[in-house]
Subunit: 113 residues, 2 copies
DNA sequence: GGGCTATATTGATGTTTGTCAATACAGGAG
DNA sequence: CTCCTGTATTGACAAACATCAATATAGCCC
């Protein structure tokens, strides 16, 4: 028989046999996590909060350091919180941000590779 | 003396003491890596190539699986290669993609959490 | 209550990004 | 060389995004 397995597969497509694809929900969830860190400012913010004195930082200091407007910093922090990378706690007038579990895992994996 | 250290710090800003910031080049480099995976299609492509039969996959099969136009798939693959997550090898008419070292590290970290 | 400060939200704007159609390039077959 | 097939690039366009100014909200202090 002339057409063995490889040839059959090549008829279907060119040749590679691929695993089952991720569900689109799964792919989107993972991509969303990466997207939260796909901005230099947010990488910086995660770094700053992670290295902060009592493991937490408030918006005003972060704003001073990253040199962007306060609304912009609040916006980025919101994205990091929504992604589960930071947590937010309001104490009095200030809002304190800490690195969440998922954020720790990112830092541990040194996903800057 | 009435103004001890904490009070002085609070005059400077509100209170947190932050680490030295990342250089903007460093932050941008890390963000660029994350950005490459900040799209569901590219997460899917990395997954598919990683699980492919002989550890490699060609564009045509990937195109069939992700159900996007061939130019779009080539575009995403280029981004993954540029980010150092995949490698590309041309053999005859086909282009074969494999997971690069940085890509392995991402997968090992379970796609970031 | 009124004023003040830290933070969040809204609106607007320029930039980036994902996608496809059309086209170009590369390489094997005849 | 000429077709044909797989892949890459270009051009165009709509959607998403980062940023800031203006405004709103929250919580102290008087």
């Amino acid at each position: 028989m002339k057409t063995e397995l490889l040839t059959v597969l090549e008829n279907v497509s060119c040749c590679s046999d691929l695993p089952t694809a991720l569900s689109s929900a799964d792919a989107e969830a993972k991509a969303a996590r990466f997207k939260a860190l796909a901005d230099p400012t947010r990488v910086q913010l995660l770094h700053l909060v992670a290295g902060a004195g009592r493991d937490e930082a408030c918006v005003c200091d972060l704003t001073d350091t990253v040199k962007l407007s306060q609304p912009t910093v609040s916006h980025h922090l919101r994205i990091l919180v929504d992604a589960g990378l930071l947590t937010r706690e309001r104490r009095g007038t200030w809002a304190w941000y800490r690195v969440a579990d998922a954020g720790q895992r990112v830092l541990k994996a040194d996903l800057g590779f």
